[in-house]
Symmetry: C2
Subunit: 316 residues, 2 copies
């Protein structure tokens, strides 16, 4: 199959009307009046963001889910995406077919479609990048800045799913759920009304719980104090492993959790809890914003310190 | 420098207001009412789309110029872009700095800004991809489909600049102009009013002159006949090389010319020539659309046949 046949067979069937059947130079989209566009782009590299030799549906799912999480954190409704894929030369066509199948299942689940992109060959590892496009009513999206002193800090779900998920990959006979933490993170799109209505700032936990708190604190020019308890961890974290000195820091800094941290005025507490009941998302109030700088994390009454606050791709 | 410092130092200064200082999860853009969004995404791989070991400003220029050409072909005004870069590990920081300098010069020249993206590390060759976003008044953009039987076929500039450009790279002491064909193709944004007003279909010549004619013919469900003359070639093509059997086919199929082929009703001939004078672009009427299928290319009275109509990344 040449490049055109590949696109025709596996990717054109995924195209929405904006993508013109992937038969044009560019996508055409008429945004609804009164909406802002929210656009995010994330890349993944084989051997860095997923294991070497992994090419199939799971990788496609992970790429789109991670990008959808960025849109979810801003309060946006996803609409479509463009995709670039640099395939390793001589990759069997069945891997490409499986990748397309992964895209298709995400499209159906999250009601998005393929608008365009590019497929090329590389002598190196697989490199994929997706640009996700969503919409949000004018001026209702959340940013990292915007948190105010005395705002509450909230968090959905658990901390450390990314770490638990990655650790589980070494045991291919293990249970599916921690593997899903890694390959199938769930973008918290059900948080939309809370983020649009009551949140002052928000971020998804990708770099690491502590790093992402820091991102909000820095962007909003304030300090944050959170209190961490053993209720925070996914159920896969065994009680006895928590006594090891590296466990809690790893859970708090590994990242790839794809939960959402957001801040909101105290007055909104009841509304947020009611929304959580209505839209069925787990949410906890974990701390407070205040004047100052930096993030303080307390665990069992003591302040934790960290060698690293999250993941970084370069250290030179 | 770690990932965050790298972004802060070299890329954040390139961000437009839509990019929120590259300090957020997503870009925010409020499109002007009454405009469509035109979005394109192209990737490039070291050793495939540009020579091995080339990392600097020229690569950044080429990436953006090629994507801008896609927007130009649709009649769109470019606004901003998102960028993914997978850097080879241990790439010297000065190469990254030069890359950012290339972005900056294109931003100034074409009045676009950086809205977001991602930088990651790879064990393989450099892989870069850009998503360009432009706007066009509602329903005025050009597609590949839309050409009608009896429409004229027009072309800007010359055919074969991509081929001449690539050939020139082997001679580093040669003149600059053919090297610019390769590294600094000029997106034909000055064609905007013609494409919005009078063109029935358009495409930029990236896959190859013949392949791109075929794209329009196929999408528009008609046949095209063009007459090629020796006035088509860039001045670097020597007269004696034209007698070699491979020269003309190479010029017509290599691609990477980034000129624009468009179709328009006969009634618009004078308007198009007047626009060419006003906006200073070279344009030639090269053929005719008609009922049927396929593309016929005549040269010196004879019909040419081609082994390949353009470039494809896969052949397996």
């Amino acid at each position: 199959l040449n490049e055109f046949e590949l696109i025709e067979k596996y990717f054109a069937p995924l195209a929405g009307p904006e993508g013109l059947g992937l038969k044009d130079d560019a996508a055409h989209y008429s945004p609804p009046p009164g909406f802002d566009l929210i656009i995010t782009k994330d890349a993944m590299v084989e051997g860095v963001h997923f294991p070497n030799g992994e090419y199939g549906a799971m990788i496609a799912e992970r790429l789109l889910r991670v990008n959808l999480s960025d849109l979810a954190a801003k309060g946006a409704s996803p609409r479509g995406y463009l995709l670039s894929i640099a395939w390793p030369k001589n990759l069997p066509v069945k891997e490409i077919e499986a990748f397309a199948r992964g895209l298709k299942s995400i499209q159906a689940k999250f009601k998005i479609s393929l608008w365009g992109g590019d497929t090329v060959a590389t002598t190196g590892p697989l490199v994929i990048s997706a640009t996700l496009i969503g919409v949000c009513p004018e001026n209702m999206s959340c940013k990292r800045f915007g948190a105010k002193p005395d705002d509450d800090i909230w968090m959905t779900g658990q901390v450390g799913k990314g770490f638990v998920g990655l650790s589980s990959l070494t045991n291919s006979k293990g249970p599916q759920r921690p593997r899903d933490y890694y390959y199938r993170p769930v973008p918290r799109l059900e948080l939309q009304s809370v983020l649009r209505g009551w949140a002052s700032a928000a971020i998804d936990v990708s770099d690491g719980f502590v790093a992402d708190l820091n991102h909000i604190a820095k962007a909003s020019h304030l300090a944050m104090t959170v209190e961490v308890t053993d209720h925070f961890w996914p159920s896969e974290v065994k009680a006895d492993s928590l006594s090891l000195p590296e466990t809690v820091p790893s859970l708090l800094t590994h990242g790839d959790d794809y939960e959402i941290i957001f801040t909101a005025h105290k007055d909104h507490r009841t509304l947020i809890l009611e929304a959580a009941e209505k839209f069925l998302f787990p949410v906890s109030r974990i701390g407070q914003c205040h004047l100052g700088k930096g993030v303080t994390v307390k665990y069992k009454g003591e302040e934790l310190t960290f060698d690293r606050t999250g993941y970084s791709h370069f250290n030179s």
